[in-house]
Point group: C2
Chain length 173, copies 2
Amino acid sequence: MTRNEKNGNPEFGHRPGEKAVTLPPQTDAGVYFIGRIRTPWKQRKDCPKNARESDAVCTLEIDARWAAGLKDVESCSHLIVLYWMDRAPRDLVLQVPAHYGVQRGTFALRSPARPNPIAMSVVRLLGVEGVTLRVTGLDCLDGTPLLDIKPYFASTDAEPNAVVGWHRPEKAD
Amino acid sequence: MTRNEKNGNPEFGHRPGEKAVTLPPQTDAGVYFIGRIRTPWKQRKDCPKNARESDAVCTLEIDARWAAGLKDVESCSHLIVLYWMDRAPRDLVLQVPAHYGVQRGTFALRSPARPNPIAMSVVRLLGVEGVTLRVTGLDCLDGTPLLDIKPYFASTDAEPNAVVGWHRPEKAD
């Protein structure tokens, strides 16, 4: 099956080995964009491949409507940021990432191309000024819609021994 | 401002100290429910307060449409699971969690009540059989809609020294 033309995007080529499915006729729930992410990267090719490659300070700009929700956020050293990768196709189930060149399942990848293009990044919080949060650890395009901010709890979110077997052969216990 | 009646839910009482906002007139994007989460918990009061409290094996059941996307997932020791907390009100910006009794901002909490009720859990993968994944580390209601599965990369996702200051006074460097 080939990718639907309507999802065509020159930044996401349909490579040999990739597989798309027909999307459901409708979505099941709606999300609000609660703000925007400001980064130095205006095109996908400029984004770092891995957020740890970059020390760039990015900002989360939250809409005034939600401002009160930021109370106590400044006490967190790290945050979970969810955002909407609005330029990615949603119908790819098998992908061949350019930098690996091997076919993988979408749910084994962090590619923005997925049924729900919700990205998750762990960021270090540098400061909060009004509705603006300065952070490091992002690798997304400037203007990316923000969905959520959560406190990062090491007790439940940190798994330092986790292994992605296809990426690194040895698997942890 | 009081919480909109239309968002009323007996499982989420409007407590003194809580603040709701008027929701935007429409959502900005749509999500697909890609499957369901099966857990032992049928009511919110039965759910563990913290997923680490429970060794319960839960299952992620992915719709057949997306099955090919599971390729290579079995090589991951841990996964990030995103799911939709469909019973939670979306308009609370200040909350008074019952087990803390103190007013906090929504973005400083992991409460399901938030503008976009997308929960994130880190789970240990026990096995994959067809479109069913057996995992530990979840604390949600049986039947919760599934949004996404991602590989957990310790290199970018594990921050063992992260601190939530309001929860534990000492803050890491």
